[in-house]
Symmetry: C2
Subunit: 228 residues, 2 copies
């Protein structure tokens, strides 16, 4: 198995990256093929599909082994479930699976065919093993029962002072708000005085959480951006 | 990457196996974990989900390489599409992806936890790399556009003389009918005199096709069955 592509995303770290695809609709990504797979022909017809499957590698966890049980954050982090009943990263084969939206296919003069994606849950630089079209007939199962994932997502109310987001695009701001609303804090941390830092698309974001309210304290440029 | 499990299915050969999961709802499978992964704990909580993702290996194609374009059978076999716009087996990393129904989890005295599945599109013996719960929130996208897969499946009318199916269970018979209705013949073959043979769950099935009508000519036991 070798990566066929890599993605650039707004999440330089695992901290803050959504735990499922689609949770942050404006989380954009740029997928660039590795040179041996950089054929415009290899993506012919892909533009007819609105959504794709990405099969990818939990690259930050490859050498950390696996465990028969894990503690899903959705259950508060204190209930153990079987690793195959979860999407946790520490699995026997560190394969991730995400359904993402295909915004457009670009033919780039240097990078070859580039896929512009949204709704991603991937850390910047994630290696991609395969790309497949989303086929509603086989993949969309509305009657599927949700198991323990039926716990509803309780989103936080996010406050970003107007003046902070001046140089952000509306999409970038929306993606940051959705990202923060998912509550990136580790389980069991509930100190309203604690300041957390999160890297997002070239910004360092500092925030506090009190109850269901997340306040952004500062937004500072850290690098020139992810080039999306 | 090493297989975590293998499946026993009613399709000993690629010929006749459905091209997507869910097309033959009664196509059953039995998934048995490889010894290092045979922990009842590793599937704890899985029984709460009605559907699963299987990430598997196109094991019959592993050494055959890949091609930037392929000819999907859905398009009559004469239009080339990019390999990443299809689910064709000859891909850079020979990974398959199937959403299947979880009928039940058995704790077998010798084999450990065994998953009983249906709606499978897998050849008998397929190695499984990963098992993940189907999470409707992230995986079910009813608004997804279908690309070239929007071509409707035209099923054949299948005739199995009553006397042939006597020792088949109703489910097995239903799975065979659905399998044949999908028209397993290679593209471009339309000779009403030609007799085709297909192996299905321990039976050798012979049939002819004239127009939209498939007639089963004989059904003979070939082996003791797949042990499902």
């Amino acid at each position: 198995m070798q990566p066929v592509a890599r993605v650039s995303t707004c999440y330089p770290d695992k901290f803050g990256a959504p735990r499922q695809s689609g949770l942050v609709p404006d989380a954009r990504a740029r997928l660039v093929f590795e040179p041996p797979f950089r054929h415009p022909d290899a993506v012919r017809g892909l533009e007819g599909f609105s959504h794709l499957w990405l099969v990818w590698v939990f690259s930050e966890n490859v050498d950390k082994g696996w465990s028969p049980t894990v503690r899903p954050p959705r259950l508060g982090g204190n209930v153990r479930m079987g690793v195959f009943a979860t999407r946790a990263p520490f699995r026997p084969n560190p394969i991730g699976l995400s359904a993402v939206r295909l915004e457009r296919v670009e033919l780039h003069p240097l990078d070859g065919p580039v896929l512009h994606l949204s709704g991603v849950d991937l850390v910047d630089g994630t290696p991609i093993l395969d790309i497949k079209p989303y086929v509603p007939l086989a993949d969309c199962i509305p009657e599927a029962s949700e198991g323990f994932t039926a716990v509803p997502y309780e989103r936080l109310d996010v406050e970003i002072p107007e003046s902070f987001g001046d140089s952000m695009s509306p999409e970038e701001r929306s993606a940051l708000e959705d990202t923060l609303s998912l509550d990136p804090r580790p389980q069991y941390q509930d100190d309203p005085e604690r300041v957390y830092g999160l890297l997002f698309s070239g910004w360092e974001v500092k925030f506090k959480v009190e109850g269901k309210r997340l306040c952004v304290l500062s937004l500072e440029r850290r690098r020139s951006g992810s080039g999306l």
